[in-house]
Structure formats: structure tokens, C-alpha cells
């Protein structure tokens, strides 16, 4: 009998907890007080956050209905996982930064609020000024689900001091001689590594895991991870095999790239060159080594550029979705877009001039801005992205792992990658 009472007590406690949990989940009722907006961002850079805060403070002066706007930096490495965990836990932000590799999932899921109408109706917003090429990834069924907040082309940062010390020609000299291509770049990198004991060329964020960063190389061969429609695998294509063979030789024979399991940070002076987005220029130290920024080397198919994108969207489930969309319109209007251009290359055509970008990018020379940034944004190929990217990405990473051995059979490994991912692509 006593046991029965105890069981009833436990059951009552559980029921209470369940009831409380149920109550906690139902916060969609519109208790409209002043809105508090939260936006998740990947950057914890002080200068970036300061600028965001300044723009938010200015917005709040004219919008007393918005009590606060906070920018919540999430670690870059696990950004999308953390964001989706927040959404799953009922703690979704009002606005979220979304990377290009998860764009198809977010855009197609219906999690984001369509933005076209809000943006177009704002006076002076100049919606048509946004380069259509930059919008493509963020549209579905003719509607825009995220603003292409940052369209950052990949370029090659060069430690000119290290190259000179190794007695090598600088990329600028090679460009002048019409010889800036992957062959010469990898030869220079290998020779510099041999002469200095430092790393030659680092494809930043690749680290033998982030394979999508290799698109900065294979695009020069005309290769792609999958077809335009996303339904057939491109890893086994001859041009991909050729590109990856060049990379494999550069790693294991030419020693032009640091091998697997070896870290080298260009910005700490550990490498002669690095392929990365121009937004990483903020990592250069003012009193550090001599440096240059040049476009990606030409591949067998000629010159090309690759861009990484990030969009900002409004979560449809947000209680303050309308206020969030209105703030996003303010954050990305022509005036603020120009301010943000110093860190995040804007998609606005009128601002994509060496003169405008030069004002807010004092570290970059006009020709660097023109060659790398403007040409890159206008003509660049966006890094690979696909619905279900996380699962695909994991399969490709696991499939490519055998390639990072000195005696790997490149063709066989790439065929294996396609065997793994083709069923996912065909879904």
C-alpha cells in the first residue's frame, strides 16, 4: 500500500514535469510587448560586433518598439550544428547567419521568412542594385529567403618576405610575366618550403577534412563536385581526377602543401601562401611580414574565381519575425551595406567599385580589389552546396580519406567517392 502511494507520488511528479514542459513549449501566443531581437553570427571579432552594435543602436533610436538587439556569436566550426540545436530546443534566434553549404537546406525547408516584399517596399532600399548572381543560392520558387550578406571571393595571400628569402619569384612577378598558374604556384610553394622549413601553400580550412575548400583548386580544371542540377557525382570525372592528381603530387612529392595532420597558419607566419577568402585580411598584423593579395592561379581551363557566401535570414517561427525582417532591411540598406563592406563584400553592384571598396578597405590596393574582389564576385563560382549537405559532406570526407596517403590510387579513390554519394544525390 505504501509502495502504491510512492508510485502515485512519482507519477504525479512526472505528470507535473510533463505539464510544465508542455507549457514551456507554447510560447507562440502573441504577447506583443517591445521586441527583443537576437541574431546568430559566426564572427566573434570585436570590430565586426562593434559595427553591428552601432547599426543596431541607430535602428533602435527610430524604433522604440524594439527593446534590444543582440548579436550572438557561435563558434565557426560548429556553427550550423549549434544553430539547428537551438532551433530544435525551442530557442531559435530571430535572425540567423547561414553559410552557403547549408543554404539549400535552410531555403527549401520553409524555416525562413520570404524577404522580397519587405525589402522592396522600403524606401531607398534599391533592391534592384543587388547583383542577381549573388541572389541565386538564396532563392526558391522566385522568392528570396536570405540576403546575401557576405560574398567573399577566394584569393591567395602571399608572404612576400618568405618568398624573397627563399629566392623565389613572387606571384606579382609571375602575374606580370603571364605565368601565374597552379604549376608555377605549386613549384614556388614547394621550393619555398624546402628552403625555409616552413609550409609552402595552405588551402585554409581544408585541413584534409573541409574538402569543399578544394573547389578553389579543381574549378581551374573545370571540375565540380556534382552536376549543376545536383543529381550526378562529378568526383570521378576526368578533369577532377587530373586536378586531384596534381594536388596529390603537390602534397606527397613536391611537398608544396603541408601533409595531413600538420598544421600551419599563414597569418602567424608559418606558410608562404594561403588560399582563403579576402575577409580574412583582418587577421594580418599591421607590423607583421610583407604581404600581397593576388587572384587564384589559373588552371588548365584558364582564369577563374570562387566565392564563399553567407546569407542572413529571418526565422519564420520567430515571435518578432516582422520586426526582425524590418531590422534586416535597415542592416542591409545602401548606407549600412557600405559600412559593412569593410568586412563583408556587399552584393550591391553600385558598391562593387575599387573606389568605394578602397575607402573601407585601406589594407587592400585598388588593383587587388578590382582583380580579386570585384571580378571574383561578378564571375565567381560559389563553393559546392546541395540539399542534405551535411550528410553528403561527411560521406565525401570519409570517401576522400584514403586519398591522403602517399601511395593512394587517385582514380580508384574518386570512383569510391561517387559510389558513396550517388545514392544521396539521386534522392
Amino acid at each position: 500500500m505504501r509502495l502504491g502511494k510512492a508510485v502515485r507520488g512519482v507519477a504525479a511528479t512526472l505528470a507535473g514535469v510533463l505539464a510544465l514542459t508542455a507549457c514551456g513549449g507554447g510560447d507562440e501566443a502573441g504577447d506583443k510587448g517591445p521586441a527583443s531581437l537576437r541574431m546568430t553570427v559566426w564572427s566573434a571579432n570585436e570590430a565586426h560586433l562593434k559595427l553591428f552594435d552601432e547599426i543596431a543602436d541607430e535602428y533602435r533610436k527610430t524604433h522604440p518598439d524594439v527593446a534590444s538587439i543582440t548579436f550572438d556569436p557561435l563558434p565557426f566550426e560548429n556553427y550550423t550544428t549549434t544553430l539547428t540545436t537551438q532551433i530544435a530546443g525551442g530557442n531559435a534566434p530571430d535572425l540567423a547567419w547561414v553559410f552557403e553549404n547549408s543554404a539549400p537546406d535552410f531555403v527549401a525547408s520553409g524555416a525562413l521568412l520570404p524577404l522580397d516584399e519587405t525589402l522592396k517596399k522600403i524606401e531607398g532600399y534599391q533592391y534592384d542594385d543587388i547583383s542577381p548572381a549573388t541572389l541565386k543560392l538564396w532563392q526558391d520558387g522566385g522568392k528570396l529567403y536570405a540576403y546575401p550578406f557576405s560574398t567573399s571571393p577566394f584569393g591567395v595571400f602571399v608572404n612576400t618576405d618568405m618568398l624573397k628569402k627563399a629566392g623565389q619569384k613572387t606571384p606579382a612577378e609571375l602575374i606580370a610575366a603571364g605565368q601565374w598558374n597552379w604549376d608555377t604556384a605549386l613549384t614556388v610553394a614547394g621550393a619555398t618550403a624546402g628552403a625555409t622549413g616552413k609550409a609552402g601553400l595552405v588551402i585554409r580550412d581544408f585541413d584534409y577534412k573541409g574538402w569543399d575548400n578544394l573547389s578553389t583548386l579543381w574549378t581551374g580544371w573545370g571540375a565540380q563536385a556534382w552536376s549543376e542540377d545536383g543529381r550526378s557525382c562529378g568526383f570521378a570525372a576526368p578533369e577532377m581526377v587530373e586536378a586531384m592528381t596534381t594536388l596529390h603530387k603537390a602534397i606527397f612529392t613536391g611537398k608544396a602543401l603541408p601533409g595531413p595532420g600538420t598544421t600551419a597558419d599563414f597569418f602567424a607566419g608559418d606558410a608562404a601562401m594561403t588560399v582563403t577568402q579576402i575577409s580574412r585580411a583582418s587577421l594580418l598584423k599591421p607590423d607583421g611580414f610583407g604581404w600581397d593579395l593576388v587572384p587564384l592561379p589559373a588552371g588548365p581551363k584558364g582564369s577563374y574565381s570562387v566565392v564563399g557566401q553567407a546569407g542572413v535570414g529571418v526565422m519564420k517561427k520567430s515571435r518578432n519575425a516582422d520586426a526582425a525582417a524590418d531590422f534586416l532591411a535597415f542592416l542591409t540598406n545602401p548606407t549600412n551595406s557600405a559600412k559593412l563592406a569593410q568586412f563583408f563584400p556587399p552584393p550591391r553592384q553600385s558598391q562593387l567599385t575599387a573606389e568605394t571598396l578602397g575607402k573601407s578597405n585601406p589594407t587592400l590596393k585598388p588593383e587587388q580589389l578590382q582583380n580579386v574582389v570585384i571580378d571574383g564576385i561578378t564571375n565567381g563560382v560559389v563553393k559546392p552546396s546541395h540539399a542534405g549537405q551535411a550528410e553528403l559532406s561527411q560521406q565525401v570526407r570519409a570517401g576522400l580519406d584514403p586519398l591522403w596517403q602517399a601511395d593512394a590510387d587517385v582514380k580508384a579513390v574518386l570512383d569510391g567517392v561517387c559510389t558513396k554519394i550517388q545514392p544521396l544525390l539521386a534522392k
Partner: protein
């Protein structure tokens, strides 16, 4: 006051409470005190163990797309998908390999260290402290440091270089990655089992060894015939803790290998994390966690049953 009549129409009515006696008898007070003492633990278990367990079972019967905000009942479909999952075989293999490696290395080394440190020698306290100290270090910090040491150009290979040995690329080789993860975990926790074994060893009566000595038993024979049977309850405890802990390994894999190279170190917990939090298949992730729960439960019950055969006394 008189006693109330308890028979109505020949049928005995339930006894009514004697109003003269206070409700809060000392017995009831004791019971209440007891319940109040266990209430925080009970509430904690209910909220953080029982409720999540019920919810996980519930989620495993659904397809839950977090981004789209859809939560559809799919019955046993997720369980049926287990059979079609081509990765599950290699995941279970990796999990088994990690568990066996960890249990063998950890218990073997812990027992060896405990026996060595149980000798009356100088400096044993220093060594006990040294071997135990990793237990109190943050797991992630420990793993990150080992990640640097195990790099191709890291400390371990640097050390091997000085004696003319070219070390492998520990975390990138199919064969060496799992071995490295096991070793990192063994060094992290061996101190805890070592202390438990040490306490058990010190509880073995010295006269048993003296008697064996008189009978002419060798040291090895004494170890197998006296030490092992006498510390068998501790061997059971440490093996249960180590097996259950090995099945829950996550941080080491996430920091050191992310399941690679290939899927050679993708253990069950890491795989369910990938399915739920990276691929957004929360329903299937919940199903995998039920699989993990069943495996842990089965192994624990098995070990508990087996104790009758090899635990010789329970104090």
C-alpha cells in the same frame, strides 16, 4: 471517546481513524523525512533520466525535421531503417573495437600499476599522484593537447625521431587512429581504476599470503589464487564502469578524429550525434540511442549475471 462501531449490516466497515490519535505519528514523520530526503534525487532522476528516456522512445517513432518544423509519426519505420543502414555495421564494429581495446588496456594497466604501487617502495605516493592526476583534468583540454602531440609533426613523433624511429601519422592512419584514441582514453582514466584496485589490494589480509608462502606458493600463484579472487568484486565494478563508459565515448572522437579516417573511428554515440545534430535526422538519432541503451543494458545485465561465476565474495 468511545470506539466507533465498525460493522454495518454484518459487513465489516473499513476502520475509521481514531480522532484522539494525532495524524503525525513519529512513524509518519519518519516516512515523510525519508521521502523528503530522497525527493531531490527522485525529482532529478525523473526530470533528467526518466523523462528524457520516455521522450527518446517517443521521438524514435517520429520523423522530426527541425528546420522545416515537421514532426510526423512514422511508427517503427526508423527501426526498420536500422536494417538498411549500410554504415551501421562498421559503426558497431568500431564501437566494439574501442570497447574491447579500452577494457583490456585500461583494466590490465590499472591492475599492473596498482600491484606495483602496492609494494612498500620509496616514491610510490608520487607515482600514485602522477597516475591519478589526469582523472581530474578536463577531458576536452586533455584530448586537445593529445591531438597536438599526435600530429604528424607533433611531440610523440618528435620523441620517436630522437631514437631514430619514424612514427606513423597517428590520427590519419586507418590502423593507428583507433589505437591512438584508445590510448588517450586509457591514460585519462587509468588512475581511477588504479585507485580502486589499490584499495582492494590493501584489503586483502596479509595472513593469506603468509600462509601461502609457508605452503611454498610462488608469487604468481599467490596472485592468481589469492589476489584475483579477493579483489574480484572490484574487478566486477571497474569492468562495468569501464564497459559502460567506453560505449559512451564522444568528446575524444569529436576532437581527435571526427570519426575518420573513413569511418574507422565512428562509434555509436558519435554516429547518433551526426545523424541527429548534423544531418537533422532526429528521429533516427533517437532510434540509435535506443540501440545504445539496449546494448548497455544487456552488457550490464550480462556482467551482473556472470558475477556469480567469478566474483568469489561480496562484502
Amino acid at each position: 471517546m468511545s470506539q466507533t462501531d465498525t460493522t454495518v449490516g454484518g459487513v465489516e466497515a473499513p476502520p475509521t481513524r481514531d480522532r484522539s490519535r494525532p495524524y503525525w505519528t513519529s512513524r509518519r514523520r519518519d516516512q515523510l523525512t525519508g521521502y523528503l530526503f530522497i525527493a531531490p534525487q527522485l525529482l532529478g532522476s525523473a526530470v533528467f533520466v526518466i523523462l528524457p528516456l520516455i521522450l527518446v522512445v517517443w521521438y524514435s517513432l517520429h520523423e522530426w525535421n527541425v528546420l522545416a518544423g515537421t514532426f510526423e509519426f512514422v511508427g517503427t519505420e526508423n527501426y526498420a531503417n536500422l536494417a538498411d543502414d549500410t554504415n551501421l555495421g562498421s559503426v558497431l564494429r568500431a564501437t566494439g573495437l574501442f570497447s574491447v581495446g579500452l577494457v583490456v588496456f585500461n583494466l590490465g594497466l590499472a591492475l599492473l600499476l596498482a600491484v606495483l604501487l602496492n609494494q612498500k617502495l620509496r616514491g610510490t605516493i608520487l607515482f600514485r599522484t602522477l597516475f591519478f592526476s589526469p582523472v581530474v583534468v578536463s577531458l576536452v583540454a586533455w584530448t586537445i593537447v593529445w591531438g597536438f602531440l599526435l600530429q604528424d609533426n607533433g611531440g610523440v613523433n618528435g620523441l620517436l625521431d630522437t631514437i631514430g624511429v619514424a612514427g606513423p601519422n597517428w590520427l590519419r592512419g586507418e590502423g593507428t587512429a583507433m589505437f591512438s584514441v584508445v590510448v588517450v582514453q586509457v591514460f585519462k582514466n587509468v588512475g581511477l581504476n588504479m585507485v580502486l584496485f589499490l584499495a582492494a589490494l590493501q584489503g586483502v589480509p596479509a595472513e593469506l599470503y603468509e600462509a601461502a608462502e609457508v605452503d611454498g606458493a610462488s608469487r604468481l600463484r599467490q596472485f592468481w589464487r589469492i589476489t584475483v579472487p579477493m579483489i574480484s568484486p572490484t574487478i566486477l565494478l571497474t569492468s562495468i564502469i569501464t564497459v559502460v563508459g567506453s560505449l559512451q565515448v564522444f568528446a575524444q572522437i569529436a576532437v581527435l578524429t571526427q570519426g575518420g579516417p573513413g569511418t574507422s573511428t565512428t562509434v555509436l554515440v558519435y554516429y547518433l550525434y551526426q545523424q541527429a545534430f548534423q544531418f537533422h535526422h532526429f528521429g533516427y538519432g533517437a532510434t540509435l540511442s535506443i540501440v545504445l541503451f539496449v546494448i548497455v543494458l544487456a552488457l550490464t545485465v550480462l556482467q551482473w549475471q556472470m558475477r556469480k561465476r567469478w566474483v568469489h565474495h561480496e562484502s
